[in-house]
Subunit: 440 residues, 2 copies
């Protein structure tokens, strides 16, 4: 990169989800809801992100349909790994990051599929390791219910260890292809012979190491164990941060933990989710947000809130203050989002209706609303204040929200030297694009 240095560069990825991250996005008259099962829709989103020079295209995932949830809006439709492999063939530069549940995946299959994705994309693959959230998911994989939080995270740590071992087990330079001798130098292979609490895996992997060594490893948990796992082994973190203070607290804490594990904290890119509403005036941006909020049935919002707080909310009075919530330590669900709800309640004392409005638009992730300049300013401010190394963009509507961002916000960040000029970037792998060190 000739016009920006790595420290000043703000990492940006697109988190593609349905018709957008606003719960009512699919209800808009001009939404693409009919195209969600069409790979062409997802490929176009990835190409738009690539055209804007973004670093990555990210897909979340879940292991159950969620019968109640899917009545209220589209959730999962395609399968993320096959989707990203198809997109790999239709794009050239953008990183491709999938979510994999360590609670339900066999590590040999996961290591192999991600290594395969890394090859078919010529070194652009990433994996976001999660531990899953619901008993519905467990019942699709032979369990009666989700294992307890601590057990899931212990398994996740072992899972990542096995993956890294497998990804190193067949170094690509072990391939000789000597027509008069051996195809592979068997002495250069490194079986892992892993025998742990959760997994027994011999190795080596039957996919050689890829152009970037191995896929970039992301982590998304915000609990104590999630932070430790991220600090010990993640190269990128998808954080949930409602405001800059919460973002700094999280990033500082993870960097401290990484140092304590003997790692350079700059080897971890902390990328909170970011919802942006962009328009030519702030007033118009707020108006668009309000129009989306109005599309959402209140009962749907209450059900989403019930999931976020782990309680029945159906009897809550919409115009009364939010009832008192249990402390974070006693909550067994996803911690990051719950912490955000607690923080919104503590700092703003909203009514239930006000809280629903905030959550519908991105589930409590950072939300910047305004002109392209205002949004670019806020992005810079968070990064320069140590709240983030970049953002995982969660447009409220798709494809509109990412088109606007790419056309109006990215050019400002480029002019300010905070994004590489596309023709200048020089990086070919996802790890290089994110400015992260090569795997040890």
């Amino acid at each position: 990169m000739t016009t920006t240095d790595a420290r000043r560069t703000i990492r940006l990825g697109l988190f593609a989800f349905g018709c957008g991250h606003h719960s009512a996005a699919w209800r808009a008259p001009d939404s693409s809801v009919e195209r969600l099962g069409d790979i062409g829709y997802w490929t176009e989103l990835a190409r738009t992100a690539e055209r804007g020079g973004l670093d990555a295209f990210f897909l979340a995932d879940g292991q159950a349909l969620g019968v109640g949830a899917v009545s209220r809006g589209p959730l999962w439709l395609l399968e993320p790994i096959t989707t990203l492999a198809a997109i790999a063939a239709a794009t050239e530069r953008i990183g491709l990051i999938t979510t994999v549940s360590s609670t339900f995946w066999d590590p040999f299959h996961a290591a192999r599929q991600l290594a395969g994705l890394d090859h078919v994309s010529h070194g652009r693959a990433g994996i976001n390791v999660v531990t899953s959230m619901t008993d519905d998911e467990a019942r699709n994989h032979g369990m009666e219910r989700l294992p307890p939080h601590a057990e899931r995270y212990a398994r996740a740590a072992e899972f990542v260890e096995v993956l890294r071992g497998l990804w190193r087990s067949w170094p690509r330079d072990a391939i000789r292809a000597d027509r008069h001798g051996s195809y592979v130098d068997a002495h250069a292979l490194r079986p892992i012979d892993h025998h742990g609490e959760a997994f027994d895996v011999a190795g080596p992997l039957n996919v050689p190491s890829s152009p970037q060594g191995h896929p970039v490893v992301f982590q998304a948990g915000a609990s104590e164990q999630g932070r430790d796992l991220a600090a010990r082994s993640a190269e990128g973190i998808y954080a949930v941060a409602w405001d800059l203070e919460q973002a700094r607290e999280f990033r500082d804490d993870v960097r401290r933990r990484a140092s304590a594990f003997g790692r350079d904290p700059d080897g971890i890119a902390v990328m909170p989710g970011l919802v942006t509403h962009v328009a030519s005036t702030e007033r118009e941006a707020r108006e668009r947000r309000r129009a989306l909020d109005e599309l959402l049935p209140v009962e749907d919002s209450l059900r989403q809130l019930a999931f976020f707080v782990g309680r029945d909310t159906s009897e809550w009075d919409l115009d009364a203050p939010v009832p008192e919530l249990a402390p974070l330590s006693s909550f067994e669900g996803p911690k990051g989002r719950y912490a955000t709800v607690l923080r919104i309640v503590a700092t703003r004392n909203p009514t239930v209706r006000e809280l629903l409005g905030v959550l519908a638009a991105g589930g409590g992730h950072a939300t910047f609303i305004g002109t392209p300049e205002q949004v670019a300013d806020e992005i810079e401010r968070w990064v320069d204040a140590g709240g983030a190394d970049g953002f995982n963009l969660m447009p409220p509507t798709l494809p509109g929200g990412i088109e606007e961002f790419v056309e109006h916000v990215v050019p400002i960040l480029r002019r300010r030297g905070r994004r590489p000029l596309a023709e200048d970037a020089g990086a070919t792998t996802l790890r290089e694009r994110l400015g992260l060190p090569a795997p040890r």
Copy 2:
């Protein structure tokens, strides 16, 4: 199809493997061995097959590197599902069939990935269910050794049942996308609530049914249990047949079993593997085959034979007759190939060296050598005599072997009305291409 009727059409797929199916193909001076890790190589093979109007592109798979085997030649490199998803984006019509081991895959993941592949390919996916072969594979998936044959096949039968249930569990017409109401009609979903010997799976799948209903199901086992599984639930069979008599015995038997299970035997396409050596004269074709055989170290052939017969062959005298082999019933490895070895020995009484020559060129699959007319004649003869509904082509060299077949043999079959004219085919899904009935 306007110029051919379904009964007269000969199904043809390409079984892509390394530099070709001859064990020494990679050793040829002009082989593509350096390109095996490049998705571009595999995409070009699929496009060549598509240009020739073939029905399918098929990948085998294994769950271990095979340290000894990979010294002697390339085995697996990329991962088949991600490879086929990438090829889906770069092709338009050809079917895409992957191998999945029911011994090591979780059925929810398998159902979901195959449904995903079916969507990203617009209805061109197929799955070849196998039960795996080696303890090395078991040790990569938490087992000390491969479960016994009977247990593997019982699991495979349950696996296919769960897959079919999951593929029906979210009918695509349950999607309403009613902007003022529900996204999905929850009453149209069909959870499977499967509780069996090997699996507990609730469902529904979180991928809706695909353009062809669900992926086409292939099976490849030749044992008693494999034949029953195929007869009960397969839509296509990858058979191993050394000669027409063996092919007819197998096809007749499977059709009888299918009838006994209440199925129309014409709903199953039996497609033996077929090695072809094609040249402008028969003499030249034989000469090419001999040149390939000469590239192969004898020790490598002996090791391959040891795997096929489940015995140490290192002390066998190359110029003596093959030692007496145990009967098929007592053999625990892959039955189809072993039956072929027994058959070659019984009908030809070859020396060990002669047997090695036959096996190196395609492991005992049907082998047609000659001019394009001779090869086309033999293909027609097998189909018309009831030995096959088509073939899974196993070119001894790639890409050369498939280019020759597509350029010289396919046009003859078209002229004879045995292959649809490409511009005439009219089929959009793999199931339609194969002339198979819609799923029940």
